[in-house]
Structure formats: C-alpha cells, structure tokens
Symmetry: C2
Subunit: 414 residues, 2 copies
C-alpha cells in the first residue's frame, strides 16, 4: 500500500475543529508550563489505552471508567504535570473528580465528557487550589493554534517536546491527524509516565476507532522498551471527530494513525536519559507479528545489547542470546542477522564480517550522521534478525544504555 | 523446622566418595585454570536444570539427553572454561561427544555416564587438541581434597570463587552437601554462563532427587536476577551417591540442598559487575510462593530500583511501581513496605519515614558494614514487601546497577 500521508505543522490542533492550550498554573516548582488542555469537536469519539500496572493512579481509573460508560465518547482531556496523583489513596480519586467537574463547568460540558491525565512525582497530591485557579486562564487560552503550547505543558523531564501532524486526501477531502506525547524513555526518578494524545478530523464509529487505536498502540507505544519500568499513569487517548469517513478509507486512515503513534513512540525512546541513539530492531520470519515483536522487544530491552551499542561493539552474540530468551519458538539454526548493511550471522553461525566497518556504522549512528545503506539514516541503529520462514514480522524501538543513565538515576536523592 | 546444617570446609569434595580436580590445560589465553572435573561415587544419581534459552550450546543438549536416557544417572562432569561452544554448529556437538568419550575412557566409564559443561566466548570452538591433552593430567589430579581447585577452574570473569559445604546428622550418621558455582552476576561480554554443581553423600532415588533439586533451583538460581540476560549454557547439576537415606530425612536433606543452592546463587548476584551490594527482596502475603517470588524478581530486576539502591536513595515509588508490573494480582491498597528496619509504606500509601536514616542504612550496606536491625547484616540491602493477607512468600536476590557496570559492558570491544 502506498503512503498517502504527508507531514504538516500544527500538532494536535492541525485537525479541523480541535482546540488546545497550555499554560503555567504554578504546579511545577520550576515555573515551566504545567497545565494542558485538548478539546475535541462535538460528537467526537475517544479511544483509550492504559497502563497494565496493578498500581495505577486515580486519573487512569477515572478515564477508563468514563470511556467504558460512554461507549467511547469524550470531548476534552486535562493534563497536569508536576504531581502524578498515584498512591494518594481516596483523595486521589476525589481530586480527579473535582478537577474534571470544574473544567466541565467552564467548557459547558458534562463532567463525564472530560478526562484527566496526571504526571509527575508519585505519592504527592495535586495542589488543588492551584490547579482550579488555573482553569479559567487555561480555557481562555484555547486556540486552533494551541497544539505546541499544549505539547510543552505536558512535559516533565523530557529534553525535547514531541509532536507531529500528517495530512492525506481521502475520499476527495483532506484528513488530518495530530499527535503529542511526553515521556523521556528511560525514566527520571518517579516521573515515569508516558502520555500520548492523538486527534483526527475524520468521523469514525467508536468501536472501529478503538480497534484501530489499539492496533496502532501495539505497533508503537507498546513496541518501545526503555528500561522496562511501566508507569502507574501511562495513558494514550485518541480523539476523532468530523465528517464521517467512508469505510473504504479506514485502512488508509489506520496507516496514518499508526504512523503518528510510531513517530511519538520513537521520539520517546530517542529521548531516553543518557541515550545517544535510537535502536530499531526488525524481526522477520516468525510465525506471527506478535511473536516477531516480542523477540524484537526482548533484543531492544537487553541491557547487554544496549551497552554493546553504546560501546559501538557489533556484538552479535548478545543479540542472538537475547532473542533466544524471548519465549517465542524459532529455529536457532535459521537465524540470520544484520547490523545496518553488515551481515553478522547466517544459518545460526557467525560470519567473518568486517568488524571495524560495523563498529564505524555504530559510531556514525551515535553521532546522528549515518547517511547510507539500507535502513534508516541519522541516529538510528538498525538491527535486522531473520528467525525462520514464517510471514510474521515486527519492529521494536529502544535506545542505548550509558553510564550517564545510571548517574542520572542514582545521583538523584529524594 | 530447625536447621540441622552447619558449615564445613571442602566444597564439592566434602561429601564422602566424591573426587575433584582443576588444572590449567591452556584453553584460556590468561593461563588461569581452565579444566575442571567432578567424579561421583558408583551408583550416583544426577539431577539437572538447564537454560530455558532457545539458543543453547551443544553441551547443554548433550547433558539433558544423557540424563533423560539414563533416568537421572551420571558419574562425572567435565567443565572447560574459555570457550562456550555455543553457536558452533554441528562441530559443537561432535566436540562435546569427543571430549566426554575421551574422558570416559580414562575414567573407566561409559561415555553416557559423563557430562560436559562449557563456558566462555560464544561462537568460538574448543581447541580440542588442547582439551584432550589436558585429560590425563586432569584425571591424575583427582583427589578428595580437590574441591577448591575444581571451583577455581570453572571461573571466567568472576572476581571470587564460589563454594560451600554443609553437614548435618541425619538418622544417626553425618550427611554432607557440597557446592560450587561460577557466574559473575552481571554478565561480562559473551561470558554469560551461570554454572552450578552440587554433591551429596546420601543415597536418594533419582526421581526424588530431581524433584528436590528442581525446587531448590526455583528458590535459588531461578530467584536471582542480574541483568535479565539468560545464557546459552546455564546449567545446574546435582549428584547424590552413598548409603541410602530414609524417607523420614528427605525433608531435612532438601533444606540443606536449598541452603547450598541459595548460598551459591547469592554469591553469583553479589559478584555482579560493578555491584556494591546484594539486594534481597522478600515478598509476603501473596496468593502463593510462585507469585510472591515473581514480584520479588521483578523488583530485584528493575533498573530504576537498582539505580536507586546504588544512589542510596530510599525510593519507595520505584519499588511499588515495579511490583505493580510483575503480572501477579494483588491489592495495591494492602501494600506495606520496609527497607531494612525502616517502614516506608502502609496500606498503599507512603509514610513519613526518617529519610536520612534510611539512606544511611543503604550506605552502610554498600560499605558491607550494616550490623543491626532485622534482616541480614553486612552488605545485603533488605527490601520487604507485604502485598496482602495470603500465605505465599518468596525471596529473590539481585545487586545494584552502577555506572561501572555500563563501562565494563560498553567499553569492551570485540
């Protein structure tokens, strides 16, 4: 399938009918923007994916419950950054209810139409007076050009803001998808949350949209691995609202939704603490896509592989050993392995490859300067693993592991 | 149950009837001892546990097949250190067969009674001439005092040798259990293998012995987590041979077998690259032992928890967040948490604890100098997590994650 999607500017407010805002309410000691709002057009549907951790914040429970009760409909999502509102007991849920009710009143909506995401320090309640006092200026700042401000106000320890928008012509009219995310891959002390938001100005039935968003999450946010620690607050929310899109274009729409989600997920992995490069692992020849992705994630998540990439060491032994413990059956004698354009293994055994050239490839990626050969250019280290003759293929993303990561996460003192 | 077991010297040759040897055959460029032999008395049974990795060395296949065919009987195990003989194709199996046949001839045994373990660099075949030339001096060196030499010759990147022996009076006679292991916890480049050996001079039926050894492995070697990378060669072999022990003493025997295995497993975790302390996580109140241990392992394996311990940061948020993603159901509202004698959480919420005192506790452990309070003393950081009212309890061990670990594993260049 050819790709009809092209990048445009505007982030989550690129799609028609979406408004957003981001302001400094005073929740963060740093004085950085800390209150963000995304407002979808009337009748919008909303799909959600949430952390699988048993220990999850009250705001996550509230979002999940409201989307289930409404059959996948919501109009707005408020994000506060600074306090995660996790492990805060009964007060946590009460504060989430208060915040969404106060915002709903100002937007002329029912409380049930408003969702909330929190990110920041675990175990610390939200200063509710400060949050509520911020709602009037937040609503006043709503704008069709507010995507960038909204994307900035959801950040915590991120080094860069993460947003994207794509446009395609589907059924003779423009369709736009926007996205923003936060999460610095490897997780800063207690600021662990990954948040992702997507907006789309095509109308799609709620069940179709939820299924589409769930598949996109599996191929993006759930295909990145950073240090393996799942947050108490991880949330992805995707809004779609606008003129209905004919069923014949749903497949093309899903292509765009997946591309936006993958862009945001890669940006999170790339922003990992202390990371110098993105690692992309592509597994082919597995029995199915899920198995291929599971192998890819295990390779991406191996501390030894991550250290080897950081050390610019083309260490095939670590890659194949990680693949072997993924819990997915394959024939070790069928394994072939490539690092960039360098083939390191064939039929389960090491080849005599050009080791200095492979190491030079890793160094070029780390410098963001790899320009040639098959696979991505720039700062992406490409690992390709063939594990058999099956049709299952899957990709996962991660980043290298540096001594800087340990220093950031060890030297922090609560 | 009271503990009848007391430490004695002698390692794997402490039990009566066991002989061992370790020599330098020239397999390692370093000139360190590299060929080790353990010989069990006639009629001995042997239990085995092997790596779950799909990519496993030929020697592992051979051990597993021979133990299955013999119904759990073997007399000797040869260990060569320097080359792992993994990813070496058909030659790998041929070399394992050759080595065991040549040793069997010298010992007057059938080849099927001899096992082999290899550890060292993956993808590199064993220099067979060197190995075979070492067999005569190895057999000549066999001795009832050879435990320590054998324990030295199985090491690769380990900083310290790992051995132990215990003795108890069971049924009016002394029973002895010896053990040795190698594995430096966090894994040196391509030298990933964990090997463990146990000897016992009590006679036990093969099926009983295998079941006993499997339970002990679950509570020891399978309860340590270092950097999550399972090796191609991981093997545990337990030999028992001597006067039959009455069934009434099997439970006491298992207590000793478990203690020996746990000592060796803890020693491997403690010897982790760049590690400054052992971390022991005890989970109580789960539905069953396996669930409790799964939670404990997840906490032990969390990079964020490991970094926090290294930074001497009593970071309860990371511990409970890791527990929440273990995949084991529990009630987050029931969680209570202790670090040493400091309680950090109660009923799912943080307590106002003495943060400097908790940090001082971590610093004392890292200095190997923690002397008081409940839980282990010395260099063990004790984390205790209560997750409900169930009767399931389990323990896991790991070590802290230091920037030194990353440097060791990144700076290595193949």
């Amino acid at each position: 399938m050819s790709d009809p999607w092209a990048p445009i500017s505007g982030g989550v407010t690129a799609p028609q009918g979406f408004l957003a805002a981001g302001i400094t309410a005073g929740l963060k000691p740093s004085g950085n923007p800390d209150l963000s709002l995304l407002l979808a057009p009337e009748g919008a549907v909303c799909a959600g994916s949430f952390t699988t951790s048993l220990v999850r914040a009250a705001c996550v429970d509230l979002c999940a419950a409201r989307l289930q009760a409404s059959g996948g409909h919501a109009r707005a999502v408020l994000t506060n950054s600074g306090q995660a509102n996790a492990c805060t007991g009964e007060r946590g849920l009460a504060d989430s209810l208060t915040a969404t009710a106060a915002l709903a009143e100002r937007l002329g909506l029912e409380p049930e139409q408003v969702l909330i995401c929190s990110t920041g320090v675990i175990g610390v309640p939200i200063p509710m007076d400060t949050l509520v006092a911020g709602l009037d200026p937040l609503v006043a700042a709503l704008s069709a050009e507010g995507g960038e401000a909204a994307a900035r106000a959801i950040l915590t320890t991120d080094l860069v803001e993460k947003q994207i928008a794509l446009e395609a012509s589907l059924g003779g009219r423009p369709v736009r998808i926007g996205g923003m995310a936060k999460g610095s891959g490897m997780i800063h002390p207690d600021m662990a949350t990954m948040l992702g938001y997507l907006s789309c100005d095509a109308g799609v039935p709620a069940e179709v949209w939820q299924a589409m968003a769930s598949r996109a999450v599996a191929r993006s946010f759930n295909a990145i691995t950073v240090d393996g620690d799942t947050s108490t607050n991880d949330t992805f929310l995707a809004f779609a609202g606008g003129e209905p899109l004919a069923e014949g274009h749903w497949q093309a729409l899903e292509q765009g939704v997946t591309a936006v989600a993958q862009h945001l997920a890669r940006a999170i992995a790339r922003d990992g603490e202390g990371a110098t490069c993105l690692i992309e692992v592509r597994v082919e020849g597995a029995a199915d896509e899920a198995g291929a992705r599971a192998i890819a994630r295990t390779v991406c998540g191996s501390s030894l592989v991550k250290c080897a990439v950081h050390g610019r060491d083309p260490n095939w032994g670590r890659i194949v050993a990680a693949a072997g413990r993924a819990g997915v059956p394959f024939d070790p004698e069928a394994v072939a392995l490539w690092l960039g354009e360098h083939q390191l293994m064939e039929r389960g055994q090491p080849l005599a490859f050009d080791r200095p050239a492979a190491s030079t490839y890793l160094r070029a990626c780390a410098a963001g300067a790899y320009l040639g050969g098959p696979g991505p250019v720039g700062d992406t280290v490409m690992i390709r693993l063939l594990v058999g003759a099956g049709t299952g293929a899957g990709t996962a993303w991660g980043c290298d592991l540096s001594d800087q990561y340990v220093r950031i996460n060890a030297d922090y003192t609560t």
